[in-house]
């Protein structure tokens, strides 16, 4: 099944690329809420692509069921955690970095 192998490798590499992209955003974004935005890439696209690639690699077995369980768990818990994080940060007075009056070219 060379086609399935190629598809699963492409999905795994795409997921790994999304994970690294999200981590770079987590490191370089200027503000807490934008950092949260970047970190959600790892939780959604990176995890979904890597788990899909592993599912294609394993075929129909119990392993696929476990991978689906992990995917459903991440799918439901990561928005909950992100929401709780944003709510706690806002309640404790972390200010979002908003644009000032005139647009500035300064980074």
């Amino acid at each position: 099944m060379i086609v399935l192998d190629i598809a699963s490798w492409a999905l795994i590499l795409l997921g790994a690329a999304f994970c690294v992209t999200g981590a770079v955003g987590l490191l370089r974004m200027p503000d807490f809420f934008t950092r949260m935005h970047a970190a959600s890439v790892v939780d959604t696209l990176g995890a979904a692509f890597i788990l899909l690639g592993l599912m294609l690699q394993s075929g129909f077995s119990l392993v696929t069921v476990k991978l689906i369980a992990i995917g459903v768990l991440l799918f439901f818990t990561s928005p909950v955690a992100t929401h709780a994080l944003a709510r706690a940060a806002l309640a404790r007075g972390v200010e979002p970095l908003l644009a000032q009056g005139e647009p500035s070219s300064k980074t």
């Binding site: 981590a23 991440l74 955690a81």
Partner: protein
Amino acid sequence: MFAAAAVALLVTLSLALVRAFRGPTVFDRALAANTIGTVAVLLLAVIGFLTGRPDFLDLALVYGLLNVVGTIAVLKFFHVGDLGEPGDEEGVK
């Protein structure tokens, strides 16, 4: 190919670790810890396939459950100020 994915996930984990060390507020550190937990789940799954032992997926599942419980508990602590009293119905504002 699994090794490449594992290396990419390790890079992701170390970048999130740098943010956890540098983060100005405690919420940055909590966010980085949450990301590290997600990446650890994925890394456990990939390592299970890399070594040909898919039993690691059970560990990944358990780690995901523990990760979300820990994150919510820490955030409730920093949001409300404590973890609630027994019998306190109005602990959450």
